[in-house]
């Protein structure tokens, strides 16, 4: 490793691997290290099942009837890919899609009152749903058709509303939508984690509803896709991209020190007696505990089950959102479920993950409303993790740090962070069209 690189990346989580891939493709010399012997860090999918039990320090070994253990690939952080979202664009434009196979998530559900409902997202579904009364349905249908025809650059589609100025609450009021409808539009479609969006310009939320509807239109059943064998395939795919374009990979390689020059800029990384020189260092928060600050905590409970989630039409995969207002919380609770259909569990087993931002001293109890919807659970694995963010953007000293993964169950915020990191490293906005020019097309 005693060489000079443009960028040294520490940690092989999804964000780090995407950055590594983008840097290698654009001709930068990249060294990518991970202290672990496996790819993915926090974004790994744990396999075999015995390793999951070890990871959570369970005293027991997995029961034999949970086998074959190698058929399990359990994500530590649950997320789905919005089929027309940013990650999807990154996968397509870099050609990483060639290394992966995707399946759609079968359904998207929302919790209201004490019941589970399918999220209506087309005008037809809006008219058929039992989520709201007959008059509210008509108003919601009008709202959806406004959103469907809305174009940011064409004032004729604005229906007299300037969404840059108007708040989302004002837009809901304009369409006469009640707080229940607002709740599931804001949380189950626009996927906001709290209610701050109501006071922000409506444009942000409308764009997210458009993304939801477009993603849904692409695959019909739900707006979400999921890679076969688990999310851990994603960092591996981008790592392969980086390697194919010359990136050097070293697993099992601890980073003992980030080296700075006399002006306080990063100039290398030391591992044991080896020093690799570089201009920039990119890493996840775990490599630089003194350079990050805590921004909250996420609670996640992995549940192994032998049945689908009740009231979800026997979907072998789904997302279920419990909006905060329904629970008197400040943050939504998310439930994601995948199964053998995605090659993440043996036949007839299901993996559900319940997660939320932590608000009290008893996070496990906070997630109870989500757990209660799952039916009988065979095994639970609880993780409470701190969410860190960098204290410094790193534009001056050349140390660019990613944020921890938040509680959202899609990759949109992760991609925003990736694009922000890209800009902090290169001082340029990421250009989707340019990356395509750099990708060789063989065959």
């Amino acid at each position: 490793m005693d060489q000079e690189y443009d960028v040294i990346v520490l940690g092989t989580g999804l964000k780090e691997c995407v950055i590594s891939g983008l840097m290698s493709v654009s001709g930068k010399k990249v060294l990518h290290m991970d202290r672990n012997s496996y790819y993915g860090g926090e974004s790994a999918s744990i396999t075999p099942l015995t390793d999951l039990f070890k990871h959570f320090k369970k005293d027991e070994k997995p029961p034999e009837n949970f086998g074959p253990f190698r058929d399990w690939n359990v994500d530590l952080i649950p997320k789905f890919i919005m089929s027309t979202g940013q990650l999807s664009k990154l996968l397509i434009h870099t050609g990483v899609t060639r290394y992966l196979e995707f399946k759609q998530i079968e359904g998207s559900y929302v919790f209201k009152g004490k019941k589970v409902y399918k999220v209506p997202a087309t005008e037809t579904e809006a008219l058929a749903t039992s989520l709201m009364g007959i008059f509210e349905k008509r108003r919601f249908k009008k709202f959806l058709s406004f959103v469907a025809s809305y174009k940011e650059d064409d004032p004729k589609t604005w229906d007299g509303s300037d969404l840059q100025k108007m708040t989302m609450q004002e837009l809901f009021t304009k369409f006469g939508l009640d707080s229940n409808t607002a709740d599931f539009t804001g949380h189950a479609m626009a996927l906001h984690t709290d209610d701050n969006y109501l006071r922000e310009p409506a444009i942000h939320t409308v764009k997210r509803v458009i993304l939801y509807c477009e993603s849904l239109a692409a695959f019909k059943k739900s707006p979400y896709l999921y890679p076969l064998y688990g999310l851990g395939e994603l960092p591996q795919g981008f790592a392969r991209l980086s390697a194919v374009y010359g990136g050097t990979y070293m697993l099992n390689k601890p980073c003992d020190e980030i080296v700075y020059d006399s002006e306080g800029k990063v100039c290398g990384v030391r591992s044991g007696d080896d020093i690799a020189k570089c201009k920039k260092v990119v890493c996840d928060p775990s490599y630089v505990p003194d350079k990050v600050q805590k921004a909250g905590r996420v609670a996640r409970i992995i549940c192994i089950m032998n049945h689908t989630i009740p009231n979800t039409n026997n979907s072998t995969s789904c997302q279920l959102i419990l909006p905060q207002n329904q629970l008197n919380r400040k943050h939504d609770i998310y439930v994601c479920m995948v199964s053998s259909v995605h090659n993440v569990a043996p036949k007839d087993y299901y993996v559900a993950m319940v997660s939320s931002m932590v608000e009290t001293n008893d996070p496990e109890c906070e997630l109870k409303p989500g757990l209660d919807l799952l039916g009988p659970i065979l095994r639970k694995f609880v993780s409470i993790s701190d969410v860190y963010e960098p204290k410094d953007a790193g534009e001056e000293n050349g140390l660019v740090i990613s944020k921890s993964y938040d509680a959202t169950t899609h990759f949109e915020t992760a991609c925003q962070d990736i694009l922000s990191m890209y800009k902090r490293i290169t001082e340029k906005e990421f250009d989707f069209s340019q990356i395509k020019d750099n990708i060789h097309t063989e065959e």
């Binding site: 290394y99 591996q236 392969r240 194919v244 990979y249 090659n343």
Partner: protein, 209 residues
Amino acid sequence: MANRTASRPANGQNKICQFKLVLLGESAVGKSSLVLRFVKGQFHEFQESTIGAAFLTQTVCLDDTTVKFEIWDTAGQERYHSLAPMYYRGAQAAIVVYDITNQDTFSRAKTWVKELQRQASPNIVIALAGNKCDLSNKRMVECEEAQAYAEENSLLFMETSAKTAMNVNDIFLAIAKKLPKNDGGSGGNGSSGVSLERTDPSSGGGCCK
């Protein structure tokens, strides 16, 4: 790797089967050179470390079947023992390469075979290639030794030379013959995923661009 299933054209007799084939072996044993020889008929004395190709494809014609190989190279990730498990995923064939002038690479090849037996699909067809057999005056690994090892482990075995092209096509052909070619049976788990490309009309992922 969207289509790994076998398909039979409606009018012709010739069946097309596509298989994922991975290369394994120490750095500098000639993995990329073997592929380059097989796919493009070329050889470069000073082949650079693998760069710039996600995978290459080449077809082999058998009597009534066309076998299309999707060949994955390690992209250098083997150098520091950092090959991602995704690499083995769904692979139906593997060529484990060593250099006949270097005993260490043969021991490493045995480790790779074990790794495949542990990680890859149980039905994977594995071939062992003793490469650089044009350098037989520097030979350190006896052909008989490798042959015996291959037989013990039910591997196909050939000594090859990417430089002279000796046995290069032959080893791929031997693999093609050994692969199961029943309809639709070659797609690993048989589950067909969705194509992400169709979500993005500008990507050119579909057709005619």
